[in-house]
């Protein structure tokens, strides 16, 4: 019996490990049958794609975009880089030059490049651009139908290299629809879509590519996509910059943050889109080959996006400016950046991201105005701005982080930001009192005598950093006597945000170009004409559902001036002042994305030292990275 039992024990231990032996030496997490040296592996932050075989990006809500489709295979007229760009932030991609408007901004004329080909050998021409507009206007259920239908009266293609858009009303920013920030209206292949009966139900598999890469293979379960460099890559718009380094690109779902870190430590994931700050610190410590945007602290790439506490200004209590300001004055931003980013954040008191060229255009010039800015609480007058908060954060971090923390005030201002609102619970109380609230014990009651409940919605582990910021703010509000609650919405945040089903949430309604001072990218959609009624879905970006006559005026003025007109900055500063007075959102900080790049196989990634592109893998711009990457050995 002893022999039998021993045998059984050995067997039971061996059975599970049996298939281990033949291939345990081989790397598990990389695509098979492709030389690793020719392959760049990037994270697809969308994770596992449920309808993997859907490549029709022009259909609503369909398929993956960050799987390489918009980075490697699609193209449109222009790109604005959030950083410096390969050849300036502005890049004429399919277009040969900048857009030309008539004096009234009712017509936009585009001249296209010639000699560009779709991957099936058909030449790209103005007919494709015209079809992109016509097909989507005709099919109202397509992704860009509404914006095109609202703006375009007609589109003409007098010859193969010219497209003329006739607009329904003056719009000096119409070209931005065809300008890639994160993405844009991508040009579709007319010769493919012409044969399709219902373009909204067409899966576009396998996609015909206009970029330098074409689809090689993909996982029907949606975990990986592999793209291959086109033989005729020179016939794509990227060809102008030389041959892309990687012959293959793999966009993969590497799993939750810890698995991403493990994968990069094993050199099975070259570019991580984003991880928690702790994961970034770990990589920096353990993997000598890992490089982030900044060589040291705070590592992350600041996206031209402004995380903020976004109020639902249609909410009974939050429609009152005093209440919103009171909630802002209860926040201690130092604790929030510690909780969210472990201090690795760039704060911003004003409603413009402190990134790209914005600090020069907005933050620094407005410092004096902010210092003088005064609130009248009814009982007292306070100057809430504290210009030393950025420095305070740096000082707070120095004991634990040591030399990584800069001491040069200019560098501190760049990496940690300038000032923010000083925590002032007393003033906040006075504001609430003026709004008719009263305090019972340590509990604020609304004018109708109920506890003042504020549910702060966060996305949970889909955006850990924002969730952490939200929990900290809730704690601070609670300590100040608000019945604040955290509300983890996970993926339903998007729908609830659109439906206005929230009191407040951590997110962003301010997104800018970064490389260009123009603010219309987000602000145009803030016009009161787009604000939905309570309970009805709100169209893009003005999630706070906030309207103000002054804001409408600013927006309308911007529509009438040229994209590069210096007057735009003036209007932008007016916007900042209005936002500061009204506080419909509480601006917090830049969205620092911890994109970690492993230099074991590839070198030449974009970094703060060589800021030619945004490294973040789901941005359309990151295609510029491919032409600069060289094998490490």
């Amino acid at each position: 019996m002893t022999r039998l039992s021993a045998w059984m024990l050995v067997a039971s231990l061996l059975i599970p490990t049996l298939p281990l032996s033949p291939s345990s030496a081989a790397a598990q997490g990389i695509p098979q049958n492709i030389p690793r040296k020719e392959l760049l592996i990037l994270e697809n932050p969308e994770g596992t794609i449920k309808n993997a075989g859907w490549f029709n990006i022009w259909a609503i809500n369909a398929g993956s975009q960050s799987n390489g489709l918009q980075q490697a295979a699609l193209d449109t007229l222009w790109y604005i880089d959030p950083e410096k760009g390969l050849d300036g932030a502005w890049d004429n991609s399919l277009a040969a030059e900048k857009p030309v408007y008539n004096a009234e901004f009712t017509e936009m004329r585009v001249k296209l490049r010639r000699g560009l080909f779709w991957s099936d050998g058909v030449e790209f021409s103005s007919a494709d651009v015209k079809a992109t507009v016509d097909i989507q206007v005709k099919n109202p259920n397509m992704r860009f139908s509404a914006v095109l239908a609202n703006n375009v009266a007609s589109v003409e293609a007098p010859d193969a290299e010219t497209v003329i858009f006739k607009l329904k009303k003056p719009n000096s920013r119409f070209h931005t629809n065809f300008t890639v920030r994160w993405g844009a209206i991508w040009i579709l292949p007319k010769h493919v879509f012409d044969k399709v009966e219902d373009p909204a139900k067409f899966d576009f598999n396998k996609p015909v590519s206009l970029g330098a890469y074409t689809l090689h293979s993909f996982d029907p379960d949606g975990k990986w996509y592999i793209w291959q460099l086109r033989e005729d890559w020179q016939r794509s718009s990227l060809g102008r910059y030389g041959k892309p380094g990687p012959k293959y690109l793999a966009y993969i779902d590497p799993g939750p943050p810890d698995k991403r870190v493990i994968a990069q430590l094993n050199h099975e994931l070259d570019v991580i889109h984003d991880i928690a700050p702790e994961g970034m610190f770990t990589l920096a410590k353990q993997d000598k080959g890992t490089r982030a945007w900044f060589k040291g602290f705070p590592y992350g790439h600041p996206d031209p996006t402004l995380p903020a506490v976004i109020f639902n200004t249609q909410n009974e209590h939050l429609r009152n400016r005093d209440v919103r300001w009171a909630l802002a004055l209860m926040i201690d931003i130092k604790a929030v950046t510690m909780a969210a980013y472990r201090g690795a954040a760039t704060i911003s008191a004003i409603a413009v991201p402190p990134t790209g060229i914005h600090p020069e255009a907005y933050h620094k010039p407005m410092e004096a105005w902010l210092k003088d800015f005064e609130i009248d609480t009814g009982k007292s007058k306070v100057k809430p701005y504290d210009s030393t908060v950025g420095k305070q954060i740096a000082d707070m971090l120095r004991p634990s982080m040591g030399d990584q923390i800069p001491s040069d005030p200019a560098v501190i201002a760049n990496s940690f930001g300038l000032g923010w609102w000083k925590t002032n619970v007393a003033a906040a109380g006075e504001l609430l009192t003026r709004a008719g609230f009263r305090k019972q014990g340590n509990q604020w009651l609304t004018p109708d005598g109920k506890p003042f409940v504020v549910r702060l919605m966060v996305e949970g582990d889909l955006r850990p950093v924002m969730t952490r910021a939200g929990t900290m703010i809730v704690q601070q509000w609670k300590q100040a006597g608000i019945d604040a609650r955290i509300d983890v919405a996970q993926g339903t945040l998007l729908t609830r945000r659109a439906a206005g089903d929230f009191d407040a949430f951590i997110g962003w309604s301010v997104e800018t170009w970064g490389g260009h001072q123009d603010l219309s990218y987000f602000m145009d959609s803030w016009h009161s004409q787009f604000v939905a009624e309570p309970g009805k879905p709100q169209p893009l970006r003005n999630w706070q559902r906030w309207t103000h006559p002054e804001l409408d005026k600013i927006i309308e003025d911007i529509r009438k001036i040229d994209f590069d007109d210096p007057k735009g900055v003036e209007l932008g500063r007016d916007y900042v002042k209005l936002m500061t007075r009204e506080m419909p959102i509480i601006p917090l900080m830049a969205y620092n994305v911890f994109t970690a790049m492993d230099q074991t196989y590839w070198k030449g990634y974009p970094t703060a030292d060589d800021p030619y592109a945004n490294p973040v893998t789901n941005w359309g711009n990151s295609r510029y990275m491919f032409v600069r990457l060289k094998p490490a050995n």
Binding site: P256, I262, A276, E278, G279, T282, R342, P464, I486, V488
Partner: protein, 287 residues
């Protein structure tokens, strides 16, 4: 009952280990009442300190002391388990006794429903509940839902005991003496059923705590209330594992494993004591 406990304590190793584990867990939970830190607050101590004299189990990346956080977490987790156990016990006893005693079509219908609840995969249903209730899904509500789903195994057990009780003489006597059904069930049968109820309580708590941990880790519960699952959830949010903050995950996992093994051992040893068959087997087969 006390004599049984004394005997178990004296002679049964499994019971002793189980009791010791559960006692440690209970002491931990009790300590939460004297926690020097406010329960839900973050950044009250310096973050990321490994276990040391000042912070026995280290501190989290959220600036919480793991030890004190753990005391509260285990209290909430145990409280949840007890809540589910008590509620589901009530359902199980009522259904089990009623089915066993009534017999006939009542028995058949009840047991058919009962078997259904045993077969149905409950986790997707819980997720469905979470999905439609979202942030209105509070801890008591979750406990109630789980109690409504998790009574079936025990109801079946109780029914089988009730069936055997029914044929005993004293039941007949009670019937002849004019006692009503609910009186017979409550006064005559319940005492026989209670020991087995007690032992299944442990298993039921294991089940409900396990599900709570899982739901919490997936972010499907109220993350404001510190629980064991909630601690692991936050640790995952801070990639504690790869960041080397192992104590943030290791101690909650260890404590909850202690809870599980402790409760399980209690259940097993009680069961063995209660079940005459296995007791007989130990005494020597009877033949």
């Amino acid at each position: 009952m006390l004599a049984i406990l004394r005997d178990l304590l004296r002679y049964n190793l499994e019971f002793r280990i189980g009791l010791a584990l559960v006692a440690i867990v209970l002491v931990m939970a009790g300590l939460s009442f004297v926690s020097p830190y406010p329960a839900g607050d973050v950044f009250v101590v310096p973050p990321d300190i490994p276990p040391s004299i000042t912070h026995w189990l280290g501190t989290t990346s959220r600036g919480q002391d793991v030890f004190w956080q753990l005391t509260l977490a285990i209290r909430n987790t145990l409280g949840f388990g007890i809540m589910v156990a008590v509620l589901s016990r009530v359902i199980a006893i009522v259904v089990g006794l009623l089915a066993g005693y009534s017999g006939g079509w009542i028995d058949r219908v009840l047991m058919s429903i009962n078997d259904t609840f045993i077969i149905i995969p409950l986790f997707p249903i819980l997720i469905l509940f979470y999905f439609v209730l979202r942030d209105t899904m509070s801890t008591p509500l979750l406990a109630t839902i789980m109690a409504c789903l998790g009574w079936a195994y025990d109801a079946r057990l109780i029914r089988s005991i009730a069936l055997s009780l029914k044929t005993r003489e004293f039941t007949q006597t009670s019937i002849f003496s004019g006692m009503k059904t609910h009186e017979i069930l409550a006064r005559e049968h319940l005492p026989y059923v209670l020991p087995i109820v007690f032992s299944t309580t442990m298993n039921n708590m294991n089940w409900s705590i396990g599900i709570e941990v899982t739901l919490a880790v997936l972010g499907f519960t109220d993350i404001n209330t510190p629980t064991i699952g909630g601690m692991i959830y936050w640790a995952n949010q801070h990639t504690a594992l790869v960041a080397g903050i192992w104590w943030w995950i290791a101690f909650p996992v260890a404590l909850v494993a202690m809870t599980f093994v402790g409760l399980f051992l209690l259940a097993v040893s009680m069961n063995e004591y209660i079940d005459p068959r296995s007791r007989l087997a130990r005494m020597g087969g009877g033949r």
